[in-house]
């Protein structure tokens, strides 16, 4: 098998029979005979049908005979000036969840926030977003939220008034000798000020900060090395060589949106002469960042210390790391040479939670002269401040009965702390437990007072993610429930003089006062505070230059080297990792994130045990212990046993398995409860730091089959080859062409599959050669396409040559697979969430999916992500087969879908070569007016989006589709129409910036470009005319409107040896 062939997974690589069969069926419908539960659950039969028919006709008659139902038009009593019904307003705010930070603009319609966009003014994110930030708006309308303050008496929570709650809590706090506050990282200056006020009122108070996924070793190491307990600011754009030891800096580590934006600046390739950074990832499992690396060095998780020590030895010439495996040694030796050649322009990072390993990393960067160049303290990050050691100490304190009042603010240590059970037990010794949180979780369940907080979209606030960089959080809607901002609760209980409870918006006044005395003086641009504040509120972000100074490195490195973690002798090790969608469970109540596929494993609704694959030397790739996708296996870590589904994963270090954090929540509403397994309880702590791997692990063989295996990797596949009866691989289109044109060749393969161009890829070195190869293939495709009866050129000249002709370009080198676009598309276009069972039946509804392909070595492959959405073909195969003309073409080159015409034959989806059309099998949105059609069908409740509260998130400009119709990407036609209208109203030509699709504006790396093909000077034309440009499946002559860039990796053969 050649190094550059592309495969989507093990089933494709080995030509698995059942898979080949399934790719030929567009929709994998359950076999009625095999799935007996479907029959028993589906109570409808012929007699019922007649009943419904009779009822339907009767009801229609009655309805027709009655009066017109009265609809109301309810205007405002006093219309706010800034709101015009039907026109969206945007407010600058910030998405902050612990250390997660993204400056955003919130799109509101008629006073409801419905969509999050990135804030272009931010010098950190430059308008980029993440899937988490995109999904945050749904959290506002979570039915699981607290609606009232609560008090627990006799093990039952009951609602009480704020006045009663405050009175009771003030009384308890007044009597308490020792008060503790537990929080996650808090990057809000005003919030810290509020806590200070609280501490002043209750001087016994101590604050314990920890992070759901810890970075405390880094903080500790920087304290040791530089005397500054912070995370440095990183500048991946300034680094030519990047080495990351298991730091998922594009997906989850510290500030992924910022880093992705920086990282991609050195990764865009426009031709053979382009410069490209080299990114080497040293890791045990295939992380999202690793999948983007040029080269991965595979190590077992316990080898990480040795690997870092080895690289340190190579760089400094001091030796070390002798116990590392030989392959990794060879790789690291070579990369050390490259690092040394790129002094001051390289960057080494690590996700390790071992202080001494982090000290070594600091020394490597120090020796390489990277401080002040590619990383530094002037713009140090505050996005991780936690120290779980303190939490551990708190547990002992509580156990000793030395704490009488505990306030838990937002955090959930009863779930995400490594010693959650100990924490839970020690809680029983605390008399007063107050939860300040916005929805129930494992910790709030154990408290006796609940002071529910606003969602951040209802709150005032501020943030200082990095030194000298500030941003504002402003409310975009009146609080939906009887909640109160957490800081306001603290200030109320402190009876603070700085907090005027009688003011209209007391916490706003508090923040303004804080900003007036602390921020206003640091600037000279504005003379009045009001001007300064208004400007900050308008822009949402402030500052940008780092305000700190660089530090000197000063620590005993040799001591550190002796204390790195030592490799284990165990044959099997497990690594626990954070995913881009779930975090450590903070996001499990969000159905958009639950249904978002993991970028690498492409699994949804749960954590799947990733096991390595081995080639059997003949034809098959066997999973570890003979495990296969969707098998259930028994996993034993320490004393804990789990039964969980398995997914085979390429690119794992041998003898290593991996499992995601953040699942298996026991108190996360109807969306998150019981999804996956909770691995936090098997995490161990070493020197007060949580370790995210274990060598005390065993895995059984297959013990069963997962009921609803919801991995989407093998759904909707394209470009798989066909096999004839003799088992030969054939190119069916060419065979068919030979038959029709010359009367020779094989018959019977019309419309079958062929050797198709889905991905073009190259290494940077081979680029000229590969470009020529691609050009040749494209010429062949063009030649094939010329033999068509379809007069495309004529259409182009007569129809598309004037006005607009929309097109898109996706840069595969910029796409990091983060799925922000997928979630943005779901939010923008009212795409329904279908739930685990439906996903397992290939019924996921996402309009935009990110296909993941492997290429290169089977043992250690590279990955390419290909965002795939409707290609808006100008010669669209779907349009020709629709019997009712529900899908047809517009003069602007859009492939239009008229839902109300669609009768659900699904011919279009069958005929789509890109497999991007989605069918509403059930009434996922409860748009249907007949309750009988609404699903508790197949015994599964489809709860997502059916509630009136959740429906407030719907975009009013996009139709909510009902059961039985096809839907697909519309190129955000509502945004196109809006952009055109803006240009028309202003009496000017349309510019590319007038129309930005949801996926485009969400992308943190600018991988997606949308525009008018007729604008010859626009960005789109430039990209389309690039030599790197290609069209997926060009040879099928559908004249697609989405083009891609050849994927280039900066992989060198010298690294492979």
């Amino acid at each position: 098998m050649s190094k550059n062939s592309i495969w989507i997974g093990e089933k494709d690589l080995t030509q698995d029979e059942s898979f080949l069969e399934s790719v030929e069926q567009e929709f994998k419908s359950p076999n009625v005979l095999e799935n007996s539960d479907v029959i028993t659950d589906q109570s409808s039969n012929r007699r019922d049908f007649l009943k419904y028919l009779g009822f339907g006709v009767g009801a229609a008659t009655v309805a027709a005979g009655c009066d017109i139902p009265i609809k109301r038009a309810i205007p405002y009593v006093i219309k706010p000036d800034e709101i015009v019904p039907g026109v969206a307003t945007y407010y600058a705010s910030s998405y902050v969840e612990g250390g997660d930070y993204c400056p955003i603009l919130v799109k509101c319609r008629e006073g409801r926030p419905i969509k999050v966009e990135g804030n272009d003014l931010s010098t950190m994110t430059h308008g980029g977003t993440s899937a988490r930030a995109q999904a945050a708006v749904l959290g506002l309308y979570d039915t699981n939220r607290y609606k009232n303050p609560q008090h627990k008496s006799d093990k039952e929570f009951s609602d009480i008034s704020w006045a009663d709650l405050d009175k009771a809590i003030i009384e308890k706090l007044g009597a308490a000798k020792n008060v503790r506050i537990v929080t996650n990282t808090n990057i809000s200056p005003s919030s810290n000020e509020a806590i200070k006020e609280f501490v002043a009122a209750y001087p016994s108070t101590k604050v314990v900060t920890y992070d759901p996924v810890s970075s405390s070793a880094m903080l500790e190491a920087n304290e040791m090395s530089f005397g500054d307990r912070v995370i440095p600011g990183y500048r991946f754009d300034k680094a030519d060589v990047i080495v990351s030891f298991n730091a998922d800096f594009l997906g989850t580590w510290i500030s992924p949106i910022e880093f992705a934006n920086q990282y991609i600046k050195n990764r865009k390739v426009s031709g053979p002469k382009s410069k490209m950074s080299r990114h080497v990832q040293v890791e045990s499992h295939m992380s999202m960042t690793g999948s983007n690396a040029d080269y991965r060095i595979l190590i077992k998780p316990s080898e990480q210390g040795e690997a870092i020590a080895f690289l340190h030895g190579q760089i400094t010439g001091t030796g070390g790391g002798s116990q590392l495996n030989d392959k990794a040694k060879a790789g690291l030796t070579k990369i050390a040479a490259e690092l040394k050649a790129a002094k001051g322009q390289s960057l080494v990072v690590s996700g390790s939670n071992n202080t001494y390993e982090q000290v070594l990393i600091n020394d490597i960067n120090n020796v390489l002269g990277n401080y002040g160049m590619t990383l530094g303290f002037s713009d140090a990050s505050y996005q991780r401040q936690g120290n779980e050691g303190n939490l551990d100490a708190l547990v002992s304190e509580m156990n000793g009965g030395r704490v009488d009042a505990l306030i838990v603010m937002g955090a959930n240590p009863a779930y995400d702390f490594a010693k959650a059970d100990a924490f839970k037990n020690s809680l029983e010794k605390v008399a007063t437990k107050i939860a300040v949180n916005y929805q129930p979780n494992e910790t709030t369940a154990l408290c006796n007072y609940i002071a529910p907080t606003h969602h951040f979209l209802e709150s005032w606030g501020d943030a200082e993610p990095k030194r000298g960089q500030y941003s504002i959080i402003q409310p975009t809607i009146r609080p939906l429930f009887k909640t109160r901002q957490g800081e306001a609760s603290l200030l109320t209980w402190a009876n603070s003089s700085a907090y005027d409870t009688n003011a209209e918006q007391p916490y706003l006044d508090f923040i303004k006062a804080y900003w007036k005395s602390n921020m206003f003086g640091n600037q000279s641009e504005f003379a009045s505070f009001q001007g300064f504040w208004d400007n900050a509120l308008h822009d949402g972000v402030l500052g940008g230059q780092g305000s700190g100074t660089e530090k000197t490195f000063n620590v005993d490195v040799s001591l550190a080297k002796s204390k790195v973690s030592k490799p284990s002798n165990s044959e099997l090790e497990i690594v626990f990792y954070e995913t881009a969608n779930m975090g450590n469970g903070q996001f499990s109540t969000n159905p958009w994130l639950q249904e978002m596929p993991d970028p690498v494993a492409r699994t949804t609704w749960g954590n799947y045990l990733a096991v390595p694959v081995n080639f059997d030397g003949n034809k098959k790739f066997i999973g570890f212990n003979g495990l296969n996708d969707g098998d259930l296996a028994e996993l034993t870590v320490g004393d804990e046993k789990f039964t969980l589904p398995v997914v085979k994963q390429f690119g794992m270090a041998p003898g290593t398995i991996a499992l995601a954090l953040g699942y298996g929540r026991s108190n996360a509403g109807k969306c998150g409860t019981g999804v996956g397994v909770n691995v936090n309880k098997v995490l161990t702590m070493s020197e007060g730091m949580t370790q995210y791997y274990s060598d005390q692990v065993q895995v059984s063989g297959t013990v069963g089959k997962e009921d609803h295996f919801s991995c989407v990797q093998y759904h909707h596949t394209i470009g798989v080859k066909a096999t004839n009866n003799d088992g030969d691989r054939i190119n069916a289109d060419e065979a068919t062409l030979g038959q029709t044109a010359y009367g020779v060749g094989i018959t019977g393969y019309q419309g079958s599959l062929t050797e198709r161009s889905v991905i073009y890829n190259s290494t940077l070195k081979d680029l000229p050669k590969k470009l020529a190869e691609m050009q040749k293939k494209r010429d062949i495709a063009k030649h094939l396409n010329d033999a068509t009866l379809y007069p495309f050129d004529e259409y182009t000249e007569n129809l598309y040559s004037q006005g607009h002709h929309w097109g898109m370009h996706v840069d595969l080198n910029s796409c990091i697979g983060c799925n922000a676009c997928t979630v943005a598309c779901v939010a923008e276009n009212n795409v329904p969430v279908v739930g685990k069972k439906e996903v397992s039946r290939h019924h996921e509804m996402t309009w935009l999916r990110i296909d993941r392909y492997y290429f290169g070595e089977a043992e250690n492959p590279n990955v390419v992500y290909q965002p795939m959405m409707c290609q808006h073909c100008d010669n669209a195969p779907c349009e020709n087969v629709c019997p009712v003309n529900a899908t047809n073409h517009s003069s602007e080159g859009l492939n239009q879908m008229a839902y109300n015409r669609c009768v659900g034959t699904r011919y279009c989806a069958n005929n789509c070569p890109y497999k991007v059309r989605r069918f509403n099998w059930l009434d996922y949105t409860t748009a249907d007016i007949f309750p009988g059609n609404q699903p508790t069908l197949n015994s599964e409740e489809i709860p997502f989006g059916a509630d009136n509260l959740t429906r407030m998130v719907l975009n009013p400009d996009v139709t909510v589709r009902s059961r039985g119709v096809i839907e697909k990407c519309s190129f955000c036609v509502q945004r196109i129409q809006e952009g055109k209208l803006t240009a028309k109203s202003e009496g000017r030509r349309l510019q590319d910036t007038d129309v930005r699709t949801a996926c485009q504006s969400a992308c943190p790396t600018g991988a997606i470009t949308f525009g008018d093909r007729n604008n010859k000077k626009g960005d789109l034309s430039k990209l389309w005319n690039s030599q790197m440009n290609y069209i997926a499946l060009e040879e099928v002559n559908v004249q697609s409107s989405v083009n891609y860039t050849m994927k280039v990796v900066n992989r060198d053969e010298s690294l492979d040896a």
Binding site: P75, V77, K79, A898, G987
Partner: protein, 467 residues
């Protein structure tokens, strides 16, 4: 000769009539038109209540008591002139009305003003009923096509058909007699139940039934002519027609949003803070706005914490207002039986109009009945049509300025939209946006094309309205 003389007499007569027709004598009808056009925006139509200007009923008597009628006439033509020369009554009135200036109307002749006061007195004394009834009933007779004429025609034709059938039957009978055959004469019953008649009737019924079914099916959900009763008897005729308020003053979304927007109560208050008593319904309707937003017309102030008041407290405020107003109009000191009834009725009406099952409080928004309803899967944008397309509101909504009760003018069906898109020309030359349509511009220049319609730039495509 006779013919000629007849003609000349006619001519002379009409010439003699001409001045009468042109100027005429003072008449109530003329007064009504003049009042509508010149006075109604400031003076109440019932002549009894105060509006922006004083109530006009009895003005002649009030003036002529102390001054000659000419003074009143010159006051009407140009009040400021009279004030400037220091006419005592003029100055007194001017000061009494906060020095607001009445629009001068120098073009009015003495007869015009006499007509005006004839009309004013008529309304003041008789309530103007006689005139209005006459005017309207005449118009109705003219417009109505009598249905009985059709029935008559139908009956006539039916009888004719029967007679013809009898005649044919008789002719057949005679013919067969002549030929010596026997002909059994069909009875009327036999004729009616004959195969051909039954067949024809069935055919006609199926045809008619099918036609009706299809038509009704097509019209399902369409509401052309829909004119529901609204919580407030708001008159577009008064506002848009008589007072010439621009449509977009209230419907301010039309130029910039997809919705034209039903105005908020505070928009109403821009004018109705001053105009507290309606010309037609008095306090009955305008008070509903006050009760919605919390404006106390008794002291011209907004009520603090209005949301928190109980229904009884709200009732007390507005019944006092209605009652006081009644006393003023009726010139009474204490509410009589009629007055009590009026107050109770009006309050009842306010309460039922502003509350429903979901909304139990009088306070809060006025829940209008929505007339123009598009299905959920239709996207319609007012700004596109009003700002870009520069359409008049009336093109789709009809002559709203003549509608006392608002109704749906157009079918709002897809066919109706499409037709307009086929016929309407795009304002191609005036908007730089359309410069990207280079081919059309060239064709227009060369004369190969007369115009570009909405259809030509894709106005019939599905995803222009459905997404």
């Amino acid at each position: 000769m006779i013919k000629n003389s007849f003609k000349s007499i006619l001519l002379t007569l009409s010439i003699a009539m001409l001045p009468f027709l042109m100027n005429g004598q003072p008449s109530i009808a003329e007064g009504k038109t003049l009042f509508k056009n010149n006075c109604a925006s400031c003076h109440a139509k019932n002549m009894k209540s105060k509006a922006t200007g004083p109530a006009l009923g009895g003005a002649v008597e009030r003036w002529t008591a102390d001054y000659p009628i000419e003074d009143l006439y010159s006051w009407v033509r140009n009040s400021q002139k009279l004030v400037s020369i220091g006419h005592p009554r003029a100055v007194q009135l001017y000061n009494e009305w906060n020095k607001s200036v009445m629009q001068p109307a120098e073009f009015l002749t003495d007869d015009n003003i006499a007509s005006l006061f004839l009309y004013i007195d008529d309304v003041f004394i008789n309530g103007g009923k006689k005139q209005v009834v006459n005017g309207e009933s005449v118009a109705e007779v003219e417009s109505e096509t009598p249905a009985w004429l059709y029935y008559l025609l139908f009956g006539f034709l039916a009888i004719l058909a029967l007679i013809l059938a009898r005649i044919t039957s008789n002719l057949n009978f005679i013919a067969s007699e002549k030929e010596g055959g026997t002909y059994e004469r069909k009875t009327l019953w036999q004729t009616l139940t004959s195969k051909s008649v039954v067949g024809f009737v069935l055919f006609a019924l199926v045809l008619f039934g099918g036609y009706t079914t299809v038509n009704n099916a097509v019209n399902l959900g369409r509401q052309e002519g829909y004119a529901p009763k609204q919580p407030i008897e708001f008159s577009h005729e008064t506002h848009a027609g008589l007072n010439k308020i621009d449509c977009q003053y209230c419907h301010d979304g039309a130029r910039r949003s997809k919705h034209s927007v039903i105005p908020a109560a505070n928009t109403c208050m821009n004018c109705h803070k001053a105009i507290t008593v309606g010309s037609k319904h008095g306090t009955a309707e305008i008070t509903k706005i006050f009760a919605s937003i919390g404006f106390n017309p008794n002291n011209n102030l907004y009520i603090d914490n209005y949301e928190d008041l109980s229904t009884e407290e709200v009732e007390a405020i507005y019944t006092k207002w209605i009652g006081d107003n009644y006393l003023e109009e009726a010139d009474l000191q204490e509410l009589d039986k009629e007055g009590k009834r009026v107050v109770a009725d009006q309050w009842n009406n306010i309460y039922t109009s502003l509350t429903n099952d979901q909304k139990t409080k009088v306070q809060g928004p006025i829940e209008w009945v929505r007339i123009h309803n598009l299905p959920d899967h239709v996207y319609f944008n007012h700004a596109q049509h009003v700002t870009v397309g520069k359409l008049e509101c009336q093109q789709c909504h009809g002559a709203v300025e003549e509608m006392e009760v608002m109704q749906q003018h157009s079918p709002l069906s897809m066919g109706w939209c499409i037709n307009c898109h086929r016929q309407t020309e795009v304002k191609f030359a005036d908007n730089a946006y359309y410069n990207s349509y280079e081919k059309y511009h060239e064709e227009l220049k060369s004369g190969d094309r007369d115009a570009v319609t909405v259809e030509d730039i894709g106005g019939l495509e599905c995803q222009k309205c459905h997404y």
